[in-house]
Amino acid sequence: MAGSVGLVRSTVVVFRVLLGQLRSPARLTGLGLLGVLSMVISWSVGSGADPSPVQHLDNATGVITLFTFTLVLPVIALIFGVGALGDARDDGTLVYLWVRPLNQISVVFGAWLAATVISLPLIVIPAALSALLLDAGSELVMATLVASALAVVAYSAVFVMLGILSRFAVVLGLVYVLLWEGVVASLGSIGAKMALRGYANSIVTSRTGVRTELANSAESTSIIIFAIVTVVALLLAAARLATLEVD
């Protein structure tokens, strides 16, 4: 008879179901185009003539941190992060994961895994290829790989939480990415501390030596911060899910 379902088993099944729902062709092509766009730009910047190698590395790092990390990464993570649980709550399929003898933590955990797993290829691959196309040295390529992968993990957790906290998660997410990280964060150091992008840029700075916007800590600190943000976001999401009124 139905006992309580194991945490791992229920997380895996939630992950599989929600991943399937996120894989809608419209989202994949639309956000895939965003990645292609960043590669086109990187290709043109990479092939352009530059006065000096230092200036070229500066320009290349600029493209990665100002275009990929500012627009491509957060937008893709936002659409999939919010969509993971947000879609299920809005269209009424969340009920098939709720009226079940399983710990709701696994629903949040499964959703986060699904959002991360689908966002990673769409972000990290174009980012790495952009870095290659910019041909500004292998440090930038490695930095882009590490920074974007870790950032996706943290962003996805935050946006899964946002998807459960509010029905206007997409708008709130955009406000955070564009206004907070874009403007407020650069005004004061407290703001910078609160912007995830700052930690991604820090990893790039620590690996390429190029000063980037909002960069303020060593790579190891950034990794720890990403980890903490992820765990806290997931716990908040689980707490909210437990008190949620599901249609």
């Binding site: 008879m1 139905a2 006992g3 894989r23 009226v99 079940r100 599901v246």
Partner: protein, 338 residues
């Protein structure tokens, strides 16, 4: 047995006649405590802001099929959501098998829910969708169990087509399969037969009756009263968020003594039969109409027993006898109109 932390539930009103007397009481399942009803709702109120969807409703439901009826917006769906723990009551307590599904996730494994909304995980096939339900219920052989229960609702487990491409009737049966996969003790179905074609409708009604007779508690909401009458005769009527009536609708009709029963009789000598029944005070009012006579009577039982002997005595043909307001449709109208 009531959980101490919970406010002791007020003594539930006399549980509705779970089953008409003639139903063989369900086989006592291993852990059924006779005094705990399968579904208990005690003094429940639910408000969204200042809209009161359900106000101070109390009832209990035992094994068998019980139909939840009520006009649109009367609070049926809200009540169902509270029973499954999807929403918390503003006041009062809701218990399934003695536990609150909102806090005790284990009891959710013994509930089978057919939600009203049409949305499914559209990219999965029917087999995959029901398998997900089986796994999330912690069943050990999900694939076989899913295939088995899909067979029960006449769906082909081998069908690869995603459920997103299914017709409304087929999606409804997928939802039903997902609700039965864990062999639940309590089945809560919000308009489960919506969109089914006549053939499927008939089969699903038979399936629900079987589930009810096997001792499960089947709580069904529906707007199609003919369908409800075929499912069974126990009803719970909700109107404007208040409980209007519970019990067998024939008994409910009998309780409505301020509304005499109207019966139409087709016979070759309406006046003679009418006069005789009036004389014997079996009927209180008579209207002769072209093809027969309409009677009003307050004692439906006496009327039913006397009509045949009187007709035989007068040697008139009893070509037809049709109660005009004894069916569920009229009972429902009288209850909701008030």
């Amino acid at each position: 047995m009531a959980d101490s932390s919970l406010p002791p539930p007020p003594p539930p009103p006399a549980p509705p006649v779970g089953q008409p007397a003639d139903h063989v009481p369900p086989p006592p399942s291993a852990d059924s405590r006779i005094e705990t009803p399968l579904v208990g709702v005690y003094g429940v109120t639910k408000a969204f802001g200042d809209v009161v969807a359900v106000s101070d409703v109390s009832f209990t439901v035992g094994p068998g099929i019980t139909a939840l009826l009520g006009p649109n917006g009367a609070g049926k769906s809200t009540l169902f959501r509270m029973l499954c723990g999807l929403a918390a009551p503003s006041q009062g307590t809701v218990q399934i098998l003695g536990k609150d599904a909102r806090r005790d996730t284990a009891v959710r494994g013994r509930i089978g829910l057919v939600p009203q909304q049409d949305a499914l995980f559209d990219r999965l096939s029917a087999q995959a969708f029901v398998e997900v339900a089986a796994i999330t219920h912690g069943l050990d052989r999900p694939r076989e169990r899913a295939a088995e229960v899909l067979g029960v609702v006449d769906l082909d487990p081998g069908e690869r087509k995603p459920v997103g491409a299914y017709s409304k009737g087929m999606r409804q049966r997928v939802k039903l399969a997902a609700a039965l996969v864990n062999d639940p003790d309590v089945i809560i179905a919000d308009e489960p037969l919506n969109g089914l074609d006549p053939v499927q409708r008939k089969r699903m009604i038979a399936l629900f009756r079987e589930l009810g007779e096997s001792g499960k508690c089947v709580l069904v909401s529906s707007h199609v009263l003919d369908e409800v009458a075929r499912l069974g005769s126990d009803i719970l009527v909700i109107a404007q968020g208040r409980l209007a009536a519970t019990g067998n609708f024939h008994d409910l009709r009998a309780l409505m003594d301020d509304r005499p029963h109207r019966i139409h009789i087709a016979t070759n000598d309406p006046r003679a039969l009418g006069a005789e029944l009036l004389r014997r005070a079996i009927a209180d009012g008579v209207r002769v109409i072209e093809d027969g006579v309409e009677f009003d009577t307050t004692d439906i039982e006496a009327f039913g027993l006397a009509i045949a002997p009187v007709a035989r005595e007068l040697d008139v043909h009893l070509n037809g006898l049709v109660p005009l307001d004894d069916d569920l449709e009229s009972v429902f109208r009288y209850l909701v109109e008030r």
